[in-house]
Subunit: 219 residues, 2 copies
């Protein structure tokens, strides 16, 4: 089946929203897609008719297996193209999202798989998010927010929860990127800000909001 770019964006957004949540609401999706709730309801009816999600009016909705499969495939394409843009075309990690937002809708199956091979089957995209394989399988790394990480223990930055341009800009400025190794040296309960140490660099401070959105793994 081939779906419109718009439908694919809906499926992708629902997929992300339903992580954790038991059910996704019309308003939440409207906010995520920057659209009006009435438009969401319209599209939900179509997606339901196409058997991509479960939906009863006024009761929220959730992708079924078929919907999830499609969503994961879009996510695979999005992340592969982001990897391509950063690692082959010299883009910064903070400027690839919008372009990948278009590239993810290309429909050729062979294109994606050849791209994957050309890139040598990367495991994660430039933001640290895992790239599903052609079967849709991927490991969801158990990563934890820097805010909850113990003091004086080496951590490796593995992802960024909020991927706005502003956030990525700020991290770039503070020399934090995917793979950066750092330790939390101090936590200030007053404002929940943190002091971080990266080897060979002066100590830096990040706010609670930043720390919450930086995901790390051990080591």
């Amino acid at each position: 089946m081939k779906y419109s770019a718009s439908k694919e964006d809906y499926l992708k957004a629902i997929y992300h929203l339903q992580e954790g949540q038991s059910v996704v609401t019309t308003n939440a999706l409207a906010a995520a897609l920057q659209a009006k709730p009435a438009s969401i309801t319209d599209m939900l009816k179509k997606l339901k008719k196409e058997k991509l999600l479960n939906y009863e009016r006024y009761k929220g909705f959730r992708l079924n297996n078929e919907g999830k499969k499609v969503a994961v495939h879009i996510i695979r394409k999005h992340r592969l193209w982001e990897y391509f843009l950063v690692n082959k075309l010299q883009f910064g990690w903070d400027e690839v999202h919008e372009i990948a937002e278009e590239l993810e809708h290309l429909s050729s199956k062979k294109l994606v798989d050849q791209l994957d091979a050309f890139l040598e089957y990367p495991a994660t995209d430039p933001h640290g998010d895992p790239i599903p394989d052609s079967q849709g399988r991927f490991i969801q790394e158990r990563q934890v927010s820097l805010l909850d990480y113990p003091l004086n223990k080496m951590a490796k930055v593995s992802g960024v929860a909020s991927q706005t341009k502003e956030m990525l800009d700020l991290l770039q400025h503070k020399n934090i990127q995917i793979g950066t190794r750092l330790e939390v040296k101090r936590k200030f309960p007053f404002d929940n800000s943190l002091e971080l140490k990266i080897r060979n660099q002066p100590t830096i401070t990040v706010s609670e909001l930043v720390a919450k959105n930086v995901m790390v793994k051990d080591e």
Copy 2:
């Protein structure tokens, strides 16, 4: 300005059709785009309102300078992506056209220019057609049909006039591609077929129709 994929396809098709012709007709464009004449008329009104072409009802039409500029930029993207697909992603030259037909509509200026740099500024696409530079300049090679080429003179295949999948398939089978060096050994006036010799390969025969569509240059 940003134009819809549909409008870009119209501009590109008109650009190709108006080569030679003094004016393009509604039916010719309908045939090229596989659409109904009524749809063409609708779109012509819109493109005229956007000042991309000259059009008076019942009198045919032609791109103006602005329309040509847009068309050439789409063609640049189309050919760069074809080059990428063949030379980086291992596609055959006969399977890239449809995919490039989608890729050519990506709007990021930086994407095209970085791709161009990554590919090291190729001069021609996999079918031998010249790739315009970022200013829209390109050399239209003076190439001649193999049908009109003299006997026993070394020629280099530089392009293919008819780029249907069937034609490209046939050339592939006969081991003819862009850059292939060959000589015309004999012409049979009965059916205008040709006998060709490629070094280290047995002599082959091509029909008048094939020869007419194979473009060559000296050397």
